[in-house]
Structure formats: structure tokens, C-alpha cells
Symmetry: C2
DNA sequence: ACGTTGCTTAGACAAATGTCAACCTAGGGG
DNA sequence: CCCCTAGGTTGACATTTGTCTAAGCAACGT
């Protein structure tokens, strides 16, 4: 458990990314590293899962609380969670009978930074 | 041209979205509306296209400047641009022989807002 | 030891996606 | 007119994705 999705080498800790999309062209390498994270958020179910996990009290949620929130089979939810995990967006940990997921704020922050846009302000803020 | 992707009804102008993922659970409807935008950014080529468009001088780029930047056929680039358009991320306009794309900052802003995370600060902001 | 509950893995399958070659449309110049 | 260039559309194809059922592994209760 707590797989870091070895082959992805997202290296989110470093300068893989960051200057906003709108400020500087994203080089191919960075795009290849970051796209999977967006792709993972590109499914309605996973986007909801992500928000349920990220907004959870105590910073974590039991899978047993996630599964019943959707009209989908357990394996399907598990599959989506794996996708989020492999995209580096969440981490999982087994404690006793249950498995808990928690968000990785660093990654979210970096994605948000990438999408950042100058404030609408036409004049000087 | 300048298609607004009619059937999508993203309604990005209103409260379709916005409170950060980490603050509040994204309801299914909002997730369904927002996921396509993330999905559109979930391909390396499109992520690069998006950044080339969004960071362009003058706020717009000619397709003729985008296509040669990739090792892909014209139709393929055209297809990716259409995907970005239908996701509401960009707009296109024909002027004479050439077609220009420009970013829709509102949407980027909303996506960024959704991913926003509290500053790392463990203590009082 | 056995059965139960929670979650993941494996396999299968229809649907969606990324890519290309071929064709088509728009606009500009001879 | 005809042709040339810039892009988009169509149709085909292999690959990936979302979903399920069936089977597996892990922890707990009895």
C-alpha cells in the first residue's frame, strides 16, 4: 500500500512544473509529466472522489465511505482510486480492516499554480 | 467558427463550481460539468497547445504557428484544438486565410480556484 | 478453523480516444 | 477561372478507458 506509482517519476517536489500556463510555454517534458494528473481529474467520478478525499474531516476518508456514495461497483471505485493514486494525487494506507485515502496537497497546489491566471484587473490592483 | 460547444452548457459564468476541492465536496452535477475541462488538459499535446495559446503574445496564436511545433499531422492538431474548444478552454476566430486561437481566462481561473489549497502553513496563517 | 466483511486484482467487453490518410471548404492571387 | 495554401471534416484503425463479474487476499469475530 501507499504505492508511489514508481514508473511515473512525477517528481512533483521539484521544478518539473510551476510557472503558470499563461506566463510561459510548458515544455514537452513537463507536459508529459503533468498531463496524467489532469487526466486523472478528467472523470466526473474521480473528480468527486478527489474532492471527497481532499475535503474530508481529519484529512482522510475510508473507502467504505466513498463506495456507497456512487452507483458503481466496488471494484470500479477501487479502480478509480488506483488511478488517482498512480497520478500522484492521493495516498492510501491500510489500518486494520479499512483502507484510508488522503490527498497530496503539494500536487494540487502545483496544478493550481499551473492554471493560475492574472487577476481580471485591467487597471492596477 | 467560435463555436461555444452548445451541448456542453458549461455555464462557467455562474456558480457551477468554485469552492475549492479541498473545502467542500464537489456535487455530481458540478463534477460532470468540470471534468471535461480537466480531461481536455489531460493530454500532453493539448496541455502544450493550451500553454502556447494562453501564453502567446497578443493573447492569440495562429494555427500555422502551433502545428509545426509538434511531430503530428495537421488533422491531429486540429482535432486537439477542437477538443480544447469544446471543453470551453479556448476560442477560435478566422481572419482571412488564418485561424487564431485564444484562451478563455475565466475557465482557467475557475479550474485553478477549484484546485486551490490552503497555504502549507500549519500554524495561524 | 471457519465464515464474514472490506478492498484489490484479473479478465472480459463495449465505448471512447489519438492518430493518420484522404477529402473537402475558405480565402487569396495569378 | 484555376490553383495554391491554411484548416477542418470524415472514415478507418489500434489503443486506452470505464465498467462489470469472478476470484483473491487481509483482517477480524466466533
Amino acid at each position: 500500500m501507499s504505492k508511489q506509482a514508481a514508473p511515473l517519476s512525477l517528481d512533483f517536489t521539484a521544478a518539473t512544473c510551476c510557472p503558470p500556463l499563461t506566463q510561459q510555454r510548458v515544455p514537452g517534458e513537463a507536459a508529459a509529466a503533468l498531463a496524467p494528473a489532469f487526466k486523472a481529474l478528467g472523470d466526473p467520478v474521480r473528480l468527486q472522489l478527489m474532492s471527497m478525499i481532499a475535503s474530508a474531516e481529519g484529512g482522510e476518508v475510508c473507502v467504505c465511505d466513498l463506495t456507497p456514495a456512487f452507483d458503481l461497483s466496488g471494484p470500479t471505485i477501487s479502480h478509480h482510486l488506483r488511478t488517482l493514486r498512480e497520478a500522484g494525487l492521493v495516498d492510501s494506507e491500510r489500518r486494520g480492516t479499512w483502507v484510508y485515502y488522503r490527498a497530496r496537497p503539494q500536487v494540487l497546489r502545483q496544478l493550481a499554480a499551473l492554471l493560475a491566471v492574472e487577476p481580471t484587473a485591467p487597471a492596477g490592483r
